[in-house]
């Protein structure tokens, strides 16, 4: 029974790994092909089946004037917008979440849970509902088609995630921890950043990871709120497509688009298994 279970487990894991990894292998091999190798016959193995070429990668860094598509600038734009918006969202979201977890708010019929739900509701709404208000808002303040405008919009999109994760996290941090800090002589701010925050690193990492992922992969708002001045990576990658699909450069750009997320996943995985709350209480 035990053996059968192990066997099934590993079979499943193997199949799943193949399912996940196969498209990546396909993309890696395709990114080194040229028009001939993609379109003439089915090929798999470099040097044997086809002659590998770096053309698919090279066009990504060449300027359009030299026949390239230049995704370097959109790449750094994406990094800037995602990181800035995630950072601001984490800072504001953590503070908001701490307040929602520890203090009781009353405004008419509105209570803490309603406020938390208000944050989350911004994510539950179909994004298209928000597109027109965002468009008008950005055009009114003159931030349409600018990095700053995108950062503002992304903060709105990412902060609910941070609030949501951190409220849940702080609710599981016993309030005796804060009270002990107060008794030991901290003021409420010190209690937060000296005691509660260091205990919340796992939560912060999870929240940060989700912010980065959702910021990085957003296509919709990046597409609607930018035109010519500023472009983000997802929009640029889609724009690579033309009447003759450039499979090689699409594969290459797809690979470098997911690369940061893979790195984030590896770093975070290590933290998630190491840092945990076990031992803060009891």
């Amino acid at each position: 029974m035990e053996k059968l279970y192990t066997f099934l487990k590993y079979t499943f894991i193997t199949l799943w790994t193949v399912f996940i990894v196969a498209p990546f292998l396909w993309a890696v091999s395709t990114s080194f092909k040229d028009f001939q190798s993609v379109n003439s016959k089915v090929t798999y193995i470099p040097w044997l089946d086809f002659e590998p070429t770096l053309e698919g990668w090279r066009v990504l860094v060449k300027s359009p004037a030299r026949g390239g598509v230049d995704i370097v600038e959109p790449y750094f734009n994406s990094i800037f917008v995602t990181c800035t918006a995630s950072l601001v969202s984490i800072v504001l979201g953590t503070l908001a979440a701490y307040a929602l977890s520890r203090f009781t708010f009353k405004a008419g019929f509105v209570r803490n849970n309603d406020i938390t739900f208000f944050f989350i509701s911004q994510r539950i709404m179909p994004p298209i509902v928000l597109s027109i208000p965002f468009f008008i808002f950005l055009s009114t303040i003159g931030l349409l088609d600018s990095l700053l405008g995108l950062v503002v919009v992304y903060i709105v999109l990412l902060m609910p995630i941070a609030v949501w994760i951190m409220v849940d996290f702080f609710n599981r941090v016993p309030k005796e921890l804060d009270e002990t800090a107060l008794i030991d002589g901290c003021n409420p701010y010190q209690a937060f950043y000296k005691v509660v925050l260091p205990n919340s690193i796992p939560g912060l990492i999870v929240a940060g990871m989700f912010c980065i992922i959702f910021g990085w992969i957003d296509f919709f708002f990046a597409f609607i709120l930018t035109f010519t001045e500023v472009q983000l990576l997802p929009v640029k990658v889609v724009a690579l497509n033309s009447s003759i699909t450039p499979w090689w450069s699409l594969s290459a750009s797809a690979l470098i688009s997911v690369a940061p997320l893979i790195i984030v996943a590896f770093v975070v995985e290590r933290y998630l298994s190491k840092g945990n709350l076990s031992g803060a209480l009891k």
Binding site: P174, L177, E179, A181, L182, D184, G185, C186
Partner: protein
């Protein structure tokens, strides 16, 4: 180290409702400097609320708190210089044991030498010296609770150390030693210690003074002996002592005696001024003796159960609808059947409306 005065304190968690319910009914009390107090009562009687009011985590609905005659009612917790230990260990899991113990001193900007000296001294007392450089989260539950305790004791100038059932997670052997340690610390530093518990043995062995609470009310304050021999209400009689006090419905029959089922029992209380003739007679099972012959103040009952606790025997006897429990010497030969129980008048407590007269 301070004298703590609680004057006309009361607290409700819903003060703005039409009919607020009170977690603490109005009371006044003084905790003398350097004494040990135990607050004893069943769960939900307001013990923790009282502690939180003293430490400033809860602001009382009414009344004032004074530390050495200085009104601290409106001061926030960090300004009160008080220590509180919770039921379950709270540690700063990202810090080492040393940093945990040093934290209250660091927050108050003590010099490094002073911090070092105090942490060493407290960690020696609590036998944590060998763990000082370990991350606090690596320790066992009772060691963590020692850290919590240590953080309370590390400040010498603290107004008082409040402990909310601090030894729940600690194993019995260590519990015993820690209680003695706390007493030593109290003798040495003259720290005012307040100890909340629902365990009467813990309260009795620890404190000079015991405060018994029930349903937000302070029912009796006194020495362990007073609580045991002269419980002020039937609640205290039930709550303190194991088994609980024997309490019988009875009628006043003459100046000094009451009748239980037509059996006349003499007491030492003067009952002439009572308006209500229906009273309750309370007597500890420790004071009831088995005698050979019927006589004055004896009750004839049928013994239904004998339990041997090793150091004593607990007899359960029935007399009509009354159940009488008596603790006797374990060597006393006893057999199931009719026995005579003697009730000494000087140990009888008479209760009118549940209150001692």
């Amino acid at each position: 180290m301070a004298k703590i005065d609680l004057s006309n304190i009361s607290h409700s968690y819903n003060p703005n409702d039409a009919n607020p319910t009170y977690a603490l009914n109005p009371f006044s009390m003084t905790w003398e400097n350097g004494k040990r107090y135990a607050i004893l009562g069943p769960s939900g009687c307001g013990k923790t609320t009282m502690l939180n009011i003293v430490s400033g985590l809860v602001k009382p609905s009414k009344g004032n708190i004074l530390f050495d005659e200085k009104d601290v009612t409106n001061l926030i917790t960090e300004e009160r210089n008080i220590a509180q230990v919770f039921q379950f260990p709270v540690i700063y899991s990202t810090m080492t044991v040393y940093d945990n113990l040093a934290f209250p001193l660091k927050c108050r900007n003590f010099s490094k030498e002073k911090i070092d000296e105090r942490v060493k001294s407290v960690s020696d007392t609590l036998r944590l010296s060998s763990f000082l450089n370990l991350p606090a989260r690596k320790l066992t539950a009772d060691q963590k609770q020692l850290i919590s305790l240590g953080r309370g004791l590390v400040r010498e100038d603290v107004a008082g150390v409040l402990m909310d059932e601090p030894l729940t997670v600690i194993d019995p052997d260590l519990k015993f030693r820690l209680r003695r340690n706390l007493k030593e610390i109290n003798d040495q530093y003259k720290t005012t210690l307040v100890y909340v518990t629902h365990d009467q043995n813990e309260a009795m062995t620890f404190a000079d003074n015991i405060i018994v609470m029930d349903q937000g009310e302070i029912v009796q304050v006194g020495l362990p002996k007073d609580l045991f021999e002269r419980p002020k209400t039937t609640f205290v009689g039930y709550f303190i002592g194991s088994p609980a006090m024997n309490i019988f419905e009875s009628q006043v029959s003459s100046e000094y005696s009451v009748k239980i089922n037509n059996i006349e029992i003499k007491t030492n209380s003067n009952l002439t001024k009572l308006k209500d003739k229906n009273v309750k007679l309370g007597i500890r099972s420790e004071f009831i003796n088995v005698v050979e012959k019927e006589g004055e103040n004896t009750i004839k009952a049928s013994l239904t159960r004998v339990e041997d606790f090793g150091n004593f025997k607990l007899l359960t006897a029935n007399m009509d609808n009354f159940v009488i429990k008596s603790k006797v010497d374990r060597e006393l030969p006893i057999s199931i059947g009719d026995i005579n129980l003697y009730i000494p008048p000087e140990k009888c407590c008479v209760y009118e409306n549940e209150k001692l007269i």
